[in-house]
Amino acid sequence: MKNASLLLDDPGWIITLKALIVFIVCVVLTIMSVWGERRIVARMQMRVGPNRVGKFGLIQALADGVKLALKEDLIPAAADKVVFIIAPIISATAAFMAFAVMPLTGPVNFFGEETVMQLTDLPVGVLYVLAIASVGVYGIVLAGWSSGSTYPLLGGLRSSAQVISYEIAMGLSLVAVFIYSGSMSTSAIVQAQQETWWYGLVLFPSFVIYAISMVGETNRAPFDLAEAEGELVGGFHTEYSSLKFALFFLAEYVNIIAVSALATTLFLGGYHAIPGLGFTEQWLGGWFTLIWFFIKVLFFFFIFVWLRGTLPRLRYDQFMQFGWKVLIPVSLFWILVVATLRVISTTGQSRVVTFGFASVVVLVVLGISTAFENSKNKRTSAVHPEPVAPDFAVPSLPSEIRTINVSQQGGNRG
């Protein structure tokens, strides 16, 4: 483990400085990503977005933050005061802590010390991120409970159920990565990907499952049921205002960055350059890897924004069904396949065995999907029988559906 030995001889002041840098990076990224999200979503909705405060509206989010901090801080009479104050603190603290194990760069020269930009390198780093995420949910659940009103409570309930279900799928999607890399440490996983391919390609199903459950885990659209504006007013943070609300806001965005960073580390090769551009890693004395890391993280962030701009919110029962009846069984099956393939390859079996196993897997998947499709067809035809012709006059159906090209027709508006 190269990173661990590099980190071991860090003097105290470097560790302190790194912690400070991680904190500052998270806060600045939050402010910038709020601005970025508003601009991107605005583009997607054919608006302009914030463009008044600063160049391109760049410090709009900062101005909003200051405004938020200066608002009146209300605590409802029915609230459980202590828990009401603790909840946003838990949420925000946990969000920052996840960043401690993320390897942001390769070996670099940091004020004369050879080190890596990673606060600490635990042998179970990825599990540590999961643990911290599960503590962070306490903030949301407790906020919902302690507000002493109905909508926040419903939001808190939803959130706890949601996180329990999607954390299972998330954990299972990580198992395949552990099996392939032979480690649970973030830096070792990055290293292992450098020796083979990115796990986003090798373990594509795991990547997809992780990507879905990370959206569920961060309470973002289309899985933002805990704060569904249309149903629950503001969900768990309905009763919050001023700095406490700002903490929840901060926690949400830091969480997004953190799960994106984890996805980058586990599936997209971490701080390494994309294959073929490996020579760039030496630029700026190794600091260019930081830029690669943030390019990948911002790519995931863009996906988050894209999802929010595109998809409507799921209904709660559909969401739960999807988690329990699709994601978890699929990940279990995939782990089975990966583990078997891993055993085949480590025991040095011939290619024939590998291909034989792979074809059996493909056949099983095809069989399951065909059976599923058949039963679905049968069910829908049973539930919705062909309507009998009514005994009164009805207009004939249009023979073909006309499509209207919106972009051309709306071309000369306004």
Binding site: V124, L127, S160, E167
Partner: protein, 259 residues
């Protein structure tokens, strides 16, 4: 007599900072009245224990303790507590006479037994074997033992847990006598029922620009209140305002708009 444990430096500081907090939280868990506070304090005790595990080189155990116990089990606990009731506090009346002295005796006895046994086993002895156990790495060492020497107990416990989970599901499950109608079927049945009055959904309560609370019936175009716009629950409670006071006839419309 040897020194109890050779902990120095940061680990000692960590211990003397967290241990009193953990004990205080554990006592608080027994003494607070609200169930949610109890659960929270228990979660705190679990997290401090996890930190101790990590400080003693059992990294995997510490992290898994947080994921499984704090993250999943306590979260389910909180879920149930919230479902049961937000404000439910423990009742302090004894339902069975003499229960309290019996419980206290049993608890003190059990605690004394644990302390004396663990104390006899560990006090005055140097802990050994940590380096040997962790030679291949903490996780690898655990995995090696779990899947070789202890594979049978491991499988038995997992079978037991699965049986328990299935049993709970069977006990909690109830069979629907008729299939649940889908949204599509509900929409169709609304249109095929006797009247089309409710087909597009019932009117919402409140009067636009005058009063939009849920306890005020909406006004129909002719100015009469729409009874279907009020929730049946509010009606049963008698919490319905008279919409007459918001009727257009009674409202003073002679206000001159400021230019």
């Amino acid at each position: 007599m040897q020194p109890l444990l050779t902990i120095q430096g940061p680990e000692a500081a960590l211990f003397w900072f967290l241990a009193p907090l953990a004990v205080a939280a554990a006592l608080g868990m027994l003494l607070v009245k609200k169930a949610v506070h109890s659960a929270l304090l228990l979660a705190w005790v679990m997290i401090t224990l996890a930190i101790f595990y990590i400080a003693q080189d059992a990294v995997f155990l510490g992290v898994v303790q947080v994921i499984v116990y704090t993250g999943a089990v306590m979260m389910l606990f909180l879920f149930i507590l919230m479902l049961v009731g937000v404000d439910s506090s423990d009742s302090l009346t004894e339902t069975i006479t003499g229960l309290r002295p019996i419980a206290i005796t049993a608890a003190v006895g059990f605690g004394g037994l644990l302390v004396s046994l663990l104390g006899r086993a560990t006090l005055g002895r140097e802990p050994i074997g940590l380096e040997i156990a962790n030679t291949a790495g903490n996780v690898q060492g655990l995995a090696e033992l779990l899947f070789s020497k202890y594979v049978w107990p491991f499988e038995v416990v997992s079978a037991l847990l699965i049986t328990a989970a299935l049993g709970a599901m069977v006990l909690a499950h109830h069979q629907r006598t008729n299939p649940r109608p889908t949204q599509r079927e509900q929409a169709i049945s609304r249109f095929r029922s006797g009247s089309l009055a409710g087909a597009a959904g019932l009117p919402g309560p409140g009067v636009f620009a005058r009063h939009n609370a849920v306890d005020v019936p909406a006004l129909l175009p002719d100015g009469t209140p729409a009874p279907t716009s009020i929730s049946a629950t509010l009606k049963a409670r008698g919490d319905v305002l008279d919409s007459g006071q918001f009727q257009l006839d009674n409202v003073d419309t002679t206000v001159v708009e400021e230019k």
